[in-house]
Subunit: 321 residues, 2 copies
Amino acid sequence: MGKLIRDTVLPILDNEILRRLGDSAIINLEGGGHLAFTTDSYVISPLFFPGGDIGRLAVSGTVNDLAMAGARPLALSLGMILEEGFPMEELLRVLESVRATAREAGVEVVTGDTKVVRKGEADGLFLNTSGIGMVPPGIETSGKRVVAGDALLVSGPVGDHGIAVMIQREGLRIESPIKSDVAPLWALVERLLGLGEAVHFLRDPTRGGLASALNELAMSSAKGVELQETWIPVTPEVSSVCELLGLDPLYIACEGRCLAVVAGHRAQEALELLRGHPLGKQARIIGRVLEGPPGNVILRTAIGGSRLVQLPVGEQLPRIC
Amino acid sequence: MGKLIRDTVLPILDNEILRRLGDSAIINLEGGGHLAFTTDSYVISPLFFPGGDIGRLAVSGTVNDLAMAGARPLALSLGMILEEGFPMEELLRVLESVRATAREAGVEVVTGDTKVVRKGEADGLFLNTSGIGMVPPGIETSGKRVVAGDALLVSGPVGDHGIAVMIQREGLRIESPIKSDVAPLWALVERLLGLGEAVHFLRDPTRGGLASALNELAMSSAKGVELQETWIPVTPEVSSVCELLGLDPLYIACEGRCLAVVAGHRAQEALELLRGHPLGKQARIIGRVLEGPPGNVILRTAIGGSRLVQLPVGEQLPRIC
């Protein structure tokens, strides 16, 4: 998919804003102000999973794409494609969840569209949410602002979302209390943005997990990234399921976690700001930015070795976010 | 679908902006200015038809929803859901068409998302386009601004899009030169907005055709609408296909036409402004607004009678726009 987008979509639609490939596009308004604009389609299977559903996922995903651009969510759109015969009670559950999650994020769905296709022409329910938000003055989250010495923080344990969906979908007989972390993060990010220009980069580690987010950081900043394996928060439950199935939690999607890169001397403050919010209670400093090697993510392992954390090849778990 | 949206979606997501059910939501920015925001999913079949394709349709549809709110398009998003095995050369054709149509409309796709689902989980290609635009100061297009004495104009012949898609899809053996009218209308609307506050209401007659657009006008303004049958432009080709198949051109979708309601004393000027643009060469005045009966659309027929033009019941032609 990454290859499809890079090699096919981008060269055709090529323009300056799209080329940045951020989670949100940033548009400079004529009257001043920076508007963030983002879109995402959700084709997740199953639609309901421990800790969430496609409605909560869609709203959170779009709010988080805005938040990672430093933008306060202003309004959401909701596009629904329904397969004929889709159960009305499930539709109602999803819509209730959209409403509740939007309220939690302090935003409203202001425009929408519903299409119905015949049985067999879609898989139950697909959602698209687009969102717009305003970036407060002085805020810019971008790889270009990242410098050596910056600290890396993650707002909580990684991998819960992907593992929760997978256990549900594959009908794995794992007695596990693992719930998806899916949540809208604006309130958490707003706290962190109290540090102003000291916040250099934000990314939600969704598809491809923390490993992807860190590689995007390393590439967009042209810096090196150094991680301490033992500092990365992973719950014992996610850890054991990953061991059992031979998965690496660094590559598992989160939907309510944030990777933050802040100026090194503000790292402790950033940690306290995150921990002061319910969604950031288990935040951790996980590493730092180095001058090089540019584009590389190095993991210092528990036993004192080190290895390269590469971009995932292909999709480990399709239709999970 | 209308019932599903009114009875199920709206009560759950209820809020002031969504309740207006306009083609675009209008958001008042803190720093001043009015932002229009709209979304649409496209599940059309077939993907390519005489005069256009799903890419041109999606960009035009979203640009037109913005234009009908009086908004200059600022940026578009593009969400794609692909069925595994969808031919790459068709994807390239669609993307080229997205690019060309966006350029024609003076706007860019600034953010996007691509999802792939397995064979049988979608029907080829679904698109979602959302758009944002800025409404120039002093412009407001809304049923509330419509008054008795206003003139109704349509920017060109109606029904070409729906008939072109239907002939293609059903493999009808009709030797017909009918091409879809699909086109982005901002440049045309911009001319008309030279009349400023004299432009009271704009709507593109897509799903449900001119009949739906006129009923929305009558209901949102709580006025009566009077149409002159012989004034409504329909090409002889569309007219004969409709006769052959027992369809009423008033109910057939257009994708490059605009219904405009302007102050009665500016009707001639409006007509000239529309006719001065290639997309409005065949514009016509088609009727007027009356005090009542509120919510009713009355057609004065060629033979001197009159009949009520009602909202379409169900979908005459599914997956056409």
